[in-house]
Protein backbone atom coordinates (compact mmCIF):
# COMPACT_ATOMS: atom_id res chain seq x y z
CA UNK A 1 0.00 0.00 0.00
CA UNK A 2 1.38 3.39 -1.01
CA UNK A 3 1.22 6.33 1.37
CA UNK A 4 -1.87 8.51 1.04
CA UNK A 5 -3.42 11.63 2.48
CA UNK A 6 -6.85 11.52 4.07
CA UNK A 7 -9.73 13.97 3.96
CA UNK A 8 -13.32 13.88 5.09
CA UNK A 9 -15.45 16.39 3.17
CA UNK A 10 -18.88 17.38 4.48
CA UNK A 11 -20.67 18.13 1.24
CA UNK A 12 -20.92 16.60 -2.19
CA UNK A 13 -19.39 19.58 -3.95
CA UNK A 14 -16.19 19.29 -1.93
CA UNK A 15 -16.13 15.52 -2.29
CA UNK A 16 -16.62 15.73 -6.05
CA UNK A 17 -13.82 18.27 -6.43
CA UNK A 18 -11.44 16.18 -4.34
CA UNK A 19 -12.52 12.91 -5.96
CA UNK A 20 -11.88 14.15 -9.49
CA UNK A 21 -8.14 14.51 -8.89
CA UNK A 22 -5.94 11.75 -10.31
CA UNK A 23 -4.70 9.22 -7.74
CA UNK A 24 -7.77 9.76 -5.54
CA UNK A 25 -10.16 7.10 -4.25
CA UNK A 26 -13.36 7.54 -2.30
CA UNK A 27 -13.65 5.31 0.72
CA UNK A 28 -17.00 4.33 2.26
CA UNK A 29 -16.87 1.02 4.17
CA UNK A 30 -13.42 0.24 2.79
CA UNK A 31 -14.11 -3.49 2.50
CA UNK A 32 -13.47 -3.55 -1.24
CA UNK A 33 -10.90 -0.76 -1.49
CA UNK A 34 -8.56 -1.69 1.37
CA UNK A 35 -7.82 -5.26 0.21
CA UNK A 36 -7.09 -3.90 -3.29
CA UNK A 37 -4.74 -1.23 -1.93
CA UNK A 38 -3.00 -3.85 0.23
CA UNK A 39 -2.62 -6.23 -2.70
CA UNK A 40 -1.21 -3.43 -4.87
CA UNK A 41 -4.05 -3.89 -7.34
CA UNK A 42 -5.16 -0.29 -6.93
CA UNK A 43 -2.93 2.62 -6.04
CA UNK A 44 -3.96 5.87 -4.47
CA UNK A 45 -2.15 8.81 -2.94
CA UNK A 46 -5.35 10.47 -1.68
CA UNK A 47 -8.25 8.91 0.16
CA UNK A 48 -11.47 10.85 0.41
CA UNK A 49 -13.67 9.49 3.18
CA UNK A 50 -17.31 10.09 2.22
CA UNK A 51 -18.84 8.99 5.53
CA UNK A 52 -19.64 12.58 6.58
CA UNK A 53 -21.77 13.17 3.48
CA UNK A 54 -25.51 13.14 4.21
CA UNK A 55 -26.10 9.91 2.30
CA UNK A 56 -27.43 7.55 4.95
CA UNK A 57 -30.90 6.37 5.73
CA UNK A 58 -33.73 4.45 4.11
CA UNK A 59 -36.82 6.34 2.96
CA UNK A 60 -39.98 4.50 2.01
CA UNK A 61 -42.28 6.42 -0.32
CA UNK A 62 -45.40 5.51 -2.26
CA UNK A 63 -43.36 5.28 -5.47
CA UNK A 64 -40.63 3.12 -4.00
CA UNK A 65 -37.77 3.05 -1.56
CA UNK A 66 -34.68 5.22 -1.50
CA UNK A 67 -31.57 3.68 0.05
CA UNK A 68 -28.91 6.25 0.88
CA UNK A 69 -25.59 5.16 -0.62
CA UNK A 70 -23.93 4.99 2.79
CA UNK A 71 -26.56 2.66 4.26
CA UNK A 72 -24.70 -0.29 5.70
CA UNK A 73 -25.65 -3.65 4.16
CA UNK A 74 -26.64 -4.94 7.61
CA UNK A 75 -28.93 -1.97 8.30
CA UNK A 76 -30.67 -2.36 4.95
CA UNK A 77 -31.09 -6.10 5.60
CA UNK A 78 -32.61 -5.29 9.00
CA UNK A 79 -35.25 -2.96 7.58
CA UNK A 80 -38.66 -4.57 8.12
CA UNK A 81 -40.43 -2.78 5.29
CA UNK A 82 -37.67 -3.54 2.86
CA UNK A 83 -37.95 -7.21 3.79
CA UNK A 84 -41.72 -7.16 3.32
CA UNK A 85 -41.94 -5.09 0.15
CA UNK A 86 -38.72 -6.06 -1.68
CA UNK A 87 -37.71 -9.46 -0.25
CA UNK A 88 -35.24 -10.24 -3.05
CA UNK A 89 -33.16 -7.23 -2.01
CA UNK A 90 -32.90 -8.33 1.61
CA UNK A 91 -32.22 -11.95 0.63
CA UNK A 92 -29.40 -10.82 -1.66
CA UNK A 93 -27.94 -8.62 1.07
CA UNK A 94 -27.97 -11.45 3.61
CA UNK A 95 -26.44 -13.85 1.10
CA UNK A 96 -23.47 -11.53 0.62
CA UNK A 97 -20.18 -11.34 2.53
CA UNK A 98 -20.28 -11.97 6.32
CA UNK A 99 -22.13 -10.32 9.23
CA UNK A 100 -19.07 -8.31 10.29
CA UNK A 101 -18.32 -7.21 6.73
CA UNK A 102 -21.95 -6.17 6.22
CA UNK A 103 -21.64 -3.86 9.24
CA UNK A 104 -18.86 -1.97 7.44
CA UNK A 105 -19.90 -2.34 3.79
CA UNK A 106 -22.24 0.21 2.20
CA UNK A 107 -24.85 -0.44 -0.47
CA UNK A 108 -23.27 2.16 -2.76
CA UNK A 109 -19.85 0.53 -2.41
CA UNK A 110 -21.41 -2.83 -3.09
CA UNK A 111 -22.42 -1.78 -6.61
CA UNK A 112 -18.87 -0.53 -7.24
CA UNK A 113 -17.02 -3.53 -5.85
CA UNK A 114 -14.37 -4.98 -8.10
CA UNK A 115 -14.39 -8.37 -9.75
CA UNK A 116 -13.12 -11.48 -7.99
CA UNK A 117 -11.29 -12.67 -11.13
CA UNK A 118 -8.08 -14.32 -9.91
CA UNK A 119 -5.93 -12.50 -12.43
CA UNK A 120 -7.29 -9.07 -11.58
CA UNK A 121 -6.31 -9.72 -7.96
CA UNK A 122 -2.78 -10.91 -8.74
CA UNK A 123 -0.76 -7.77 -9.47
CA UNK A 124 2.04 -9.91 -10.97
CA UNK A 125 -0.23 -11.18 -13.78
CA UNK A 126 -1.45 -9.45 -16.91
CA UNK A 127 -5.04 -8.22 -16.77
CA UNK A 128 -6.71 -5.84 -19.20
CA UNK A 129 -8.93 -4.46 -16.48
CA UNK A 130 -6.04 -3.68 -14.16
CA UNK A 131 -3.53 -2.80 -16.85
CA UNK A 132 -5.13 -2.02 -20.20
CA UNK A 133 -3.53 -3.84 -23.10
CA UNK A 134 -1.68 -6.43 -21.01
CA UNK A 135 -3.95 -9.32 -21.99
CA UNK A 136 -6.53 -11.60 -20.39
CA UNK A 137 -4.99 -14.76 -18.89
CA UNK A 138 -8.45 -15.92 -17.76
CA UNK A 139 -9.45 -16.58 -21.37
CA UNK A 140 -7.31 -19.74 -21.49
CA UNK A 141 -6.50 -19.99 -17.80
CA UNK A 142 -8.29 -20.59 -14.51
CA UNK A 143 -11.70 -19.42 -15.69
CA UNK A 144 -14.03 -21.51 -13.54
CA UNK A 145 -15.29 -18.37 -11.83
CA UNK A 146 -15.50 -16.25 -14.96
CA UNK A 147 -18.38 -15.04 -17.10
CA UNK A 148 -20.32 -16.92 -19.76
CA UNK A 149 -22.38 -13.86 -20.72
CA UNK A 150 -21.36 -10.34 -21.72
CA UNK A 151 -17.65 -11.06 -22.07
CA UNK A 152 -15.22 -9.97 -24.76
CA UNK A 153 -11.84 -11.27 -25.87
CA UNK A 154 -10.37 -8.56 -23.63
CA UNK A 155 -12.18 -9.55 -20.42
CA UNK A 156 -14.46 -12.23 -19.00
CA UNK A 157 -14.46 -11.07 -15.38
CA UNK A 158 -17.80 -11.36 -13.60
CA UNK A 159 -19.45 -8.61 -11.62
CA UNK A 160 -19.57 -10.16 -8.16
CA UNK A 161 -22.33 -8.28 -6.37
CA UNK A 162 -25.39 -10.17 -5.15
CA UNK A 163 -27.30 -7.02 -4.27
CA UNK A 164 -26.97 -5.62 -7.80
CA UNK A 165 -28.62 -8.71 -9.28
CA UNK A 166 -31.74 -8.34 -7.12
CA UNK A 167 -31.78 -4.60 -7.79
CA UNK A 168 -31.44 -4.88 -11.56
CA UNK A 169 -34.33 -7.37 -11.62
CA UNK A 170 -36.48 -4.87 -9.71
CA UNK A 171 -35.53 -2.07 -12.16
CA UNK A 172 -33.66 -0.01 -9.59
CA UNK A 173 -32.11 3.32 -10.49
CA UNK A 174 -28.84 4.79 -9.23
CA UNK A 175 -28.80 8.42 -8.17
CA UNK A 176 -25.49 10.14 -8.91
CA UNK A 177 -24.29 13.38 -7.41
CA UNK A 178 -21.71 15.80 -8.77
CA UNK A 179 -20.78 19.46 -8.30
CA UNK A 180 -23.62 20.54 -10.57
CA UNK A 181 -26.45 18.49 -9.14
CA UNK A 182 -27.87 15.02 -9.51
CA UNK A 183 -28.70 12.63 -12.32
CA UNK A 184 -30.43 9.27 -12.31
CA UNK A 185 -29.32 6.23 -14.28
CA UNK A 186 -31.15 2.89 -14.52
CA UNK A 187 -28.95 0.33 -12.78
CA UNK A 188 -29.16 -1.73 -15.99
CA UNK A 189 -27.21 1.05 -17.77
CA UNK A 190 -24.86 1.89 -14.89
CA UNK A 191 -22.28 -0.87 -15.43
CA UNK A 192 -20.62 -1.14 -18.83
CA UNK A 193 -19.83 -4.20 -20.85
CA UNK A 194 -16.07 -4.80 -21.03
CA UNK A 195 -15.71 -4.58 -24.84
CA UNK A 196 -12.23 -3.26 -25.61
CA UNK A 197 -12.08 -1.13 -22.47
CA UNK A 198 -12.69 -3.42 -19.49
CA UNK A 199 -10.97 -0.92 -17.20
CA UNK A 200 -13.95 1.42 -17.59
CA UNK A 201 -16.56 -0.33 -15.49
CA UNK A 202 -19.38 2.16 -15.00
CA UNK A 203 -20.79 5.40 -16.39
CA UNK A 204 -19.54 7.33 -13.34
CA UNK A 205 -17.69 10.52 -14.27
CA UNK A 206 -14.54 11.46 -12.35
CA UNK A 207 -15.55 12.82 -8.95
CA UNK A 208 -19.16 11.70 -9.26
CA UNK A 209 -20.59 9.89 -6.23
CA UNK A 210 -23.48 7.50 -5.85
CA UNK A 211 -25.86 9.30 -3.53
CA UNK A 212 -28.70 6.77 -3.42
CA UNK A 213 -30.34 3.72 -4.93
CA UNK A 214 -34.03 3.98 -5.78
CA UNK A 215 -36.13 0.83 -6.07
CA UNK A 216 -39.57 1.47 -7.57
CA UNK A 217 -42.58 -0.20 -5.97
CA UNK A 218 -44.00 -2.45 -8.67
CA UNK A 219 -46.73 -5.10 -8.66
CA UNK A 220 -44.05 -7.82 -8.68
CA UNK A 221 -41.71 -6.39 -5.99
CA UNK A 222 -43.29 -8.19 -3.05
CA UNK A 223 -43.27 -11.51 -4.82
CA UNK A 224 -39.54 -11.47 -5.42
CA UNK A 225 -36.77 -13.76 -4.35
CA UNK A 226 -33.03 -14.37 -4.66
CA UNK A 227 -31.33 -17.75 -5.05
CA UNK A 228 -27.56 -18.06 -4.66
CA UNK A 229 -25.54 -21.17 -5.49
CA UNK A 230 -21.95 -21.39 -4.27
CA UNK A 231 -19.10 -23.74 -3.36
CA UNK A 232 -19.92 -23.65 0.35
CA UNK A 233 -23.09 -22.95 2.26
CA UNK A 234 -22.24 -19.44 3.39
CA UNK A 235 -19.68 -16.60 3.15
CA UNK A 236 -18.81 -17.36 -0.45
CA UNK A 237 -19.26 -15.60 -3.77
CA UNK A 238 -21.92 -16.84 -6.15
CA UNK A 239 -21.08 -19.39 -8.79
CA UNK A 240 -24.50 -18.56 -10.13
CA UNK A 241 -27.41 -16.68 -8.69
CA UNK A 242 -30.84 -15.66 -9.85
CA UNK A 243 -33.37 -13.05 -8.82
CA UNK A 244 -36.97 -13.50 -9.86
CA UNK A 245 -40.07 -11.39 -9.35
CA UNK A 246 -43.60 -12.28 -10.43
CA UNK A 247 -46.85 -10.41 -10.76
CA UNK A 248 -49.57 -13.06 -10.73
CA UNK A 249 -53.27 -13.08 -11.48
CA UNK A 250 -54.35 -16.43 -10.07
CA UNK A 251 -51.82 -18.73 -11.64
CA UNK A 252 -51.27 -16.61 -14.72
CA UNK A 253 -48.12 -14.51 -14.87
CA UNK A 254 -48.95 -10.89 -15.68
CA UNK A 255 -45.32 -9.90 -15.78
CA UNK A 256 -42.01 -11.29 -14.63
CA UNK A 257 -38.57 -9.89 -13.86
CA UNK A 258 -35.51 -12.13 -13.95
CA UNK A 259 -31.78 -11.43 -13.55
CA UNK A 260 -28.71 -13.59 -12.97
CA UNK A 261 -25.38 -13.13 -11.18
CA UNK A 262 -22.02 -14.87 -11.06
CA UNK A 263 -22.28 -15.63 -14.76
CA UNK A 264 -22.01 -12.25 -16.46
CA UNK A 265 -19.72 -9.27 -16.75
CA UNK A 266 -22.38 -7.03 -15.25
CA UNK A 267 -25.63 -7.56 -13.32
CA UNK A 268 -27.57 -9.40 -16.02
CA UNK A 269 -31.25 -8.86 -16.71
CA UNK A 270 -32.97 -11.44 -18.95
CA UNK A 271 -35.67 -9.71 -21.05
CA UNK A 272 -36.24 -12.75 -23.32
CA UNK A 273 -36.95 -14.96 -20.33
CA UNK A 274 -39.31 -12.32 -18.96
CA UNK A 275 -41.17 -12.07 -22.30
CA UNK A 276 -41.61 -15.84 -22.46
CA UNK A 277 -43.15 -15.80 -18.99
CA UNK A 278 -45.56 -12.90 -19.51
CA UNK A 279 -49.08 -14.23 -19.98
CA UNK A 280 -48.05 -17.84 -19.31
CA UNK A 281 -49.12 -20.15 -16.51
CA UNK A 282 -46.88 -20.17 -13.40
CA UNK A 283 -45.70 -23.76 -13.43
CA UNK A 284 -42.45 -25.61 -13.61
CA UNK A 285 -42.58 -26.67 -17.24
CA UNK A 286 -43.09 -23.04 -18.26
CA UNK A 287 -40.23 -21.96 -15.97
CA UNK A 288 -37.96 -24.58 -17.55
CA UNK A 289 -38.80 -23.51 -21.08
CA UNK A 290 -38.26 -19.83 -20.22
CA UNK A 291 -34.96 -20.53 -18.45
CA UNK A 292 -33.61 -22.18 -21.62
CA UNK A 293 -33.63 -18.74 -23.24
CA UNK A 294 -31.21 -17.42 -20.63
CA UNK A 295 -28.38 -19.35 -22.23
CA UNK A 296 -28.83 -17.79 -25.68
CA UNK A 297 -25.54 -16.19 -26.60
CA UNK A 298 -23.67 -17.81 -23.72
CA UNK A 299 -19.97 -18.30 -24.46
CA UNK A 300 -18.50 -20.66 -21.90
CA UNK A 301 -14.75 -21.22 -21.65
CA UNK A 302 -12.90 -24.39 -20.62
CA UNK A 303 -13.75 -24.54 -16.92
CA UNK A 304 -16.99 -22.60 -16.59
CA UNK A 305 -19.28 -24.47 -18.99
CA UNK A 306 -21.11 -25.97 -16.00
CA UNK A 307 -22.53 -22.53 -15.32
CA UNK A 308 -24.83 -22.76 -18.34
CA UNK A 309 -26.88 -25.55 -16.78
CA UNK A 310 -26.48 -24.24 -13.24
CA UNK A 311 -27.81 -20.85 -14.31
CA UNK A 312 -30.95 -22.37 -15.85
CA UNK A 313 -31.63 -24.36 -12.71
CA UNK A 314 -31.09 -21.32 -10.49
CA UNK A 315 -33.64 -19.41 -12.58
CA UNK A 316 -36.20 -22.25 -12.32
CA UNK A 317 -35.68 -22.44 -8.57
CA UNK A 318 -36.03 -18.67 -8.13
CA UNK A 319 -39.21 -18.59 -10.23
CA UNK A 320 -40.69 -21.52 -8.34
CA UNK A 321 -39.83 -19.87 -5.00
CA UNK A 322 -41.33 -16.57 -6.12
CA UNK A 323 -44.44 -18.35 -7.39
CA UNK A 324 -45.02 -20.04 -4.06
CA UNK A 325 -44.72 -16.85 -1.98
CA UNK A 326 -47.92 -15.91 -0.19
Amino acid sequence: MLPFTYSRPRNIGEAATAGAQPGTEFIAGGTDLLPLLKEGVRRANRLVDINDLPLGGIRHEAAGVRLGALTRMSDAADDERLRRDYPAVVEALLAGASPQLRNLATVGGNLLQHTRCLYFHDAAMPCNKRQPGSGCPAWDGQNRGNAILGGSRACIATHASDLAVALVALEARVVLGARHGEREVPLADFHRLPGDTPQIETVLEPGEVITAIFVPAAPYSRRSTYVKLRDRASFEWALTSAAAALDLAGDTIRQARVAVGGVATKPWRLPKVEEALAGARADRSIFHAAAELAAQGAEPRQFNAFKVELMKRAIVRALADAGSLA
Binding site: F4, T5, G30, R130, S234
Partner: protein
Protein backbone atom coordinates in the same frame (compact mmCIF):
# COMPACT_ATOMS: atom_id res chain seq x y z
CA UNK B 1 -6.09 -32.90 -23.13
CA UNK B 2 -2.62 -33.59 -21.69
CA UNK B 3 -1.07 -30.56 -20.09
CA UNK B 4 1.91 -30.29 -22.46
CA UNK B 5 -0.34 -29.62 -25.40
CA UNK B 6 -1.84 -26.66 -23.61
CA UNK B 7 1.62 -25.31 -23.02
CA UNK B 8 2.50 -25.83 -26.68
CA UNK B 9 -0.66 -23.99 -27.60
CA UNK B 10 0.22 -21.12 -25.30
CA UNK B 11 3.55 -20.76 -27.08
CA UNK B 12 1.93 -20.60 -30.51
CA UNK B 13 2.75 -17.38 -32.33
CA UNK B 14 -0.21 -15.22 -31.32
CA UNK B 15 0.01 -16.14 -27.69
CA UNK B 16 3.78 -15.73 -27.62
CA UNK B 17 3.57 -12.16 -28.91
CA UNK B 18 0.89 -11.50 -26.35
CA UNK B 19 3.03 -12.88 -23.53
CA UNK B 20 6.08 -10.92 -24.66
CA UNK B 21 4.17 -7.65 -24.82
CA UNK B 22 2.71 -8.38 -21.43
CA UNK B 23 6.14 -9.17 -20.01
CA UNK B 24 7.56 -5.93 -21.41
CA UNK B 25 4.71 -3.84 -20.04
CA UNK B 26 5.13 -5.44 -16.65
CA UNK B 27 8.87 -4.80 -16.55
CA UNK B 28 9.78 -8.46 -16.40
CA UNK B 29 11.37 -9.50 -13.11
CA UNK B 30 10.68 -6.13 -11.51
CA UNK B 31 7.55 -6.40 -9.51
CA UNK B 32 7.67 -2.80 -8.47
CA UNK B 33 7.22 -1.72 -12.08
CA UNK B 34 3.96 -3.66 -12.41
CA UNK B 35 0.47 -2.40 -13.16
CA UNK B 36 -0.61 1.24 -13.04
CA UNK B 37 1.93 4.01 -12.68
CA UNK B 38 2.36 4.96 -9.05
CA UNK B 39 0.93 8.32 -8.13
CA UNK B 40 3.44 10.67 -6.46
CA UNK B 41 3.60 10.12 -2.71
CA UNK B 42 2.26 12.96 -0.55
CA UNK B 43 4.78 14.94 1.55
CA UNK B 44 5.79 12.96 4.66
CA UNK B 45 3.94 15.24 7.10
CA UNK B 46 0.67 14.56 5.23
CA UNK B 47 1.11 10.79 5.54
CA UNK B 48 0.57 10.66 9.30
CA UNK B 49 -2.02 11.95 11.74
CA UNK B 50 -2.62 12.34 15.44
CA UNK B 51 -5.72 10.36 16.32
CA UNK B 52 -7.75 9.43 19.40
CA UNK B 53 -9.36 6.03 19.78
CA UNK B 54 -11.63 4.76 22.53
CA UNK B 55 -10.56 1.21 23.24
CA UNK B 56 -12.27 -0.76 25.98
CA UNK B 57 -13.47 2.45 27.58
CA UNK B 58 -10.09 4.21 27.53
CA UNK B 59 -9.20 7.13 25.32
CA UNK B 60 -5.89 6.48 23.58
CA UNK B 61 -3.98 9.11 21.63
CA UNK B 62 -1.51 8.01 19.01
CA UNK B 63 0.32 9.24 15.94
CA UNK B 64 -0.09 6.87 13.06
CA UNK B 65 0.70 6.49 9.41
CA UNK B 66 -2.70 7.01 7.77
CA UNK B 67 -2.52 3.54 6.22
CA UNK B 68 -2.71 1.95 9.68
CA UNK B 69 -5.71 -0.30 10.14
CA UNK B 70 -7.51 -0.55 13.46
CA UNK B 71 -6.04 -4.05 13.71
CA UNK B 72 -2.46 -2.80 13.39
CA UNK B 73 -3.14 0.11 15.73
CA UNK B 74 -4.35 -2.34 18.37
CA UNK B 75 -1.57 -4.84 17.93
CA UNK B 76 1.44 -2.72 17.03
CA UNK B 77 0.73 0.62 18.70
CA UNK B 78 -1.30 -0.30 21.77
CA UNK B 79 0.08 -3.74 22.59
CA UNK B 80 -3.39 -5.29 22.47
CA UNK B 81 -2.42 -8.50 20.69
CA UNK B 82 -5.53 -10.45 21.63
CA UNK B 83 -7.09 -9.41 18.34
CA UNK B 84 -5.51 -11.66 15.70
CA UNK B 85 -4.40 -11.13 12.14
CA UNK B 86 -5.21 -14.06 9.88
CA UNK B 87 -5.72 -12.97 6.29
CA UNK B 88 -5.70 -9.15 6.61
CA UNK B 89 -8.31 -9.19 3.80
CA UNK B 90 -11.68 -9.63 5.51
CA UNK B 91 -11.85 -13.32 4.71
CA UNK B 92 -11.27 -15.05 8.07
CA UNK B 93 -12.76 -13.02 10.94
CA UNK B 94 -9.76 -13.49 13.29
CA UNK B 95 -9.63 -9.69 13.70
CA UNK B 96 -13.29 -9.25 14.72
CA UNK B 97 -13.89 -6.47 17.26
CA UNK B 98 -16.94 -4.45 18.23
CA UNK B 99 -17.40 -0.83 17.16
CA UNK B 100 -20.29 0.79 19.02
CA UNK B 101 -21.43 -2.74 19.80
CA UNK B 102 -21.40 -3.92 16.17
CA UNK B 103 -18.92 -6.53 15.00
CA UNK B 104 -16.48 -5.44 12.31
CA UNK B 105 -13.29 -6.73 10.71
CA UNK B 106 -10.53 -4.61 12.26
CA UNK B 107 -8.25 -5.41 9.32
CA UNK B 108 -10.56 -3.55 6.92
CA UNK B 109 -11.15 -0.52 9.12
CA UNK B 110 -8.68 2.35 8.90
CA UNK B 111 -7.78 3.52 12.40
CA UNK B 112 -8.30 7.15 11.41
CA UNK B 113 -11.92 6.32 10.52
CA UNK B 114 -12.68 4.73 13.91
CA UNK B 115 -12.34 7.89 15.99
CA UNK B 116 -15.37 8.62 18.14
CA UNK B 117 -16.45 4.98 18.17
CA UNK B 118 -16.43 2.75 21.22
CA UNK B 119 -14.15 -0.14 20.33
CA UNK B 120 -14.33 -3.34 22.36
CA UNK B 121 -11.65 -5.99 21.94
CA UNK B 122 -11.28 -9.40 23.52
CA UNK B 123 -9.23 -7.74 26.30
CA UNK B 124 -12.28 -5.64 27.21
CA UNK B 125 -14.78 -8.46 27.67
CA UNK B 126 -14.00 -9.65 31.18
CA UNK B 127 -15.43 -7.42 33.91
CA UNK B 128 -13.80 -7.18 37.35
CA UNK B 129 -11.63 -10.18 36.67
CA UNK B 130 -14.62 -12.30 35.74
CA UNK B 131 -14.87 -13.92 32.35
CA UNK B 132 -17.64 -12.92 30.04
CA UNK B 133 -20.18 -15.78 29.81
CA UNK B 134 -19.19 -16.40 26.18
CA UNK B 135 -15.54 -16.76 27.19
CA UNK B 136 -16.53 -19.16 29.97
CA UNK B 137 -18.71 -21.17 27.59
CA UNK B 138 -15.88 -21.49 25.05
CA UNK B 139 -13.62 -22.90 27.77
CA UNK B 140 -16.30 -25.23 29.14
CA UNK B 141 -17.22 -26.57 25.71
CA UNK B 142 -13.59 -26.86 24.60
CA UNK B 143 -14.45 -24.70 21.61
CA UNK B 144 -10.93 -24.34 20.22
CA UNK B 145 -7.77 -26.22 19.40
CA UNK B 146 -4.84 -23.92 18.50
CA UNK B 147 -6.85 -20.92 19.69
CA UNK B 148 -5.83 -18.54 16.94
CA UNK B 149 -9.35 -17.88 15.68
CA UNK B 150 -10.81 -17.85 19.19
CA UNK B 151 -10.77 -14.12 20.09
CA UNK B 152 -12.50 -13.38 16.80
CA UNK B 153 -14.99 -16.21 17.33
CA UNK B 154 -15.79 -14.95 20.81
CA UNK B 155 -16.27 -11.33 19.71
CA UNK B 156 -18.46 -12.50 16.88
CA UNK B 157 -20.45 -14.74 19.22
CA UNK B 158 -21.00 -11.85 21.66
CA UNK B 159 -22.37 -9.82 18.74
CA UNK B 160 -24.45 -12.76 17.51
CA UNK B 161 -26.18 -12.92 20.90
CA UNK B 162 -26.78 -9.17 21.12
CA UNK B 163 -28.19 -9.12 17.56
CA UNK B 164 -31.01 -11.28 18.85
CA UNK B 165 -30.99 -14.27 16.49
CA UNK B 166 -32.70 -17.49 17.46
CA UNK B 167 -29.73 -19.62 18.67
CA UNK B 168 -30.46 -22.69 16.54
CA UNK B 169 -27.58 -24.72 15.09
CA UNK B 170 -28.42 -23.50 11.60
CA UNK B 171 -28.65 -19.85 12.61
CA UNK B 172 -25.40 -20.04 14.57
CA UNK B 173 -23.61 -21.60 11.61
CA UNK B 174 -24.95 -19.00 9.20
CA UNK B 175 -24.35 -15.96 11.41
CA UNK B 176 -20.90 -17.18 12.50
CA UNK B 177 -19.82 -17.89 8.91
CA UNK B 178 -17.56 -14.83 8.86
CA UNK B 179 -15.24 -16.58 11.33
CA UNK B 180 -13.19 -19.43 9.95
CA UNK B 181 -11.53 -22.03 12.15
CA UNK B 182 -8.67 -23.83 10.50
CA UNK B 183 -8.65 -26.45 13.24
CA UNK B 184 -12.31 -27.21 12.56
CA UNK B 185 -13.57 -26.68 16.09
CA UNK B 186 -16.98 -25.74 14.68
CA UNK B 187 -19.17 -28.30 16.49
CA UNK B 188 -17.88 -27.16 19.88
CA UNK B 189 -18.12 -23.49 18.92
CA UNK B 190 -21.80 -24.06 18.13
CA UNK B 191 -22.27 -25.75 21.51
CA UNK B 192 -20.50 -22.93 23.35
CA UNK B 193 -22.73 -20.31 21.75
CA UNK B 194 -25.85 -22.32 22.57
CA UNK B 195 -24.71 -22.57 26.18
CA UNK B 196 -24.06 -18.83 26.41
CA UNK B 197 -27.42 -18.07 24.75
CA UNK B 198 -29.17 -20.32 27.24
CA UNK B 199 -27.45 -18.57 30.15
CA UNK B 200 -28.37 -15.14 28.90
CA UNK B 201 -32.07 -16.02 28.72
CA UNK B 202 -32.04 -17.68 32.15
CA UNK B 203 -29.90 -15.16 33.98
CA UNK B 204 -28.90 -11.55 33.70
CA UNK B 205 -28.49 -10.24 30.17
CA UNK B 206 -24.98 -10.48 28.78
CA UNK B 207 -22.97 -7.35 29.29
CA UNK B 208 -20.78 -6.01 26.51
Amino acid sequence: MPSWSRRVFLLSSASATFLLTAAKRLGFGQRSAAAQPSPAPPPPEAQTAEIALTINGQLQRLRIDLRTTLLDALRNHLGLTGTKKGCDLGQCGACTVLADGRRINACLALAVMQQGKDITTIEGLAKDGEQHPVQAAFIEQDAFQCGYCTPGQIMSAVAFLSEGHEPTDAAIREWMSGNLCRCGAYPNIVEAIKQAAHQSTNHAPLHL
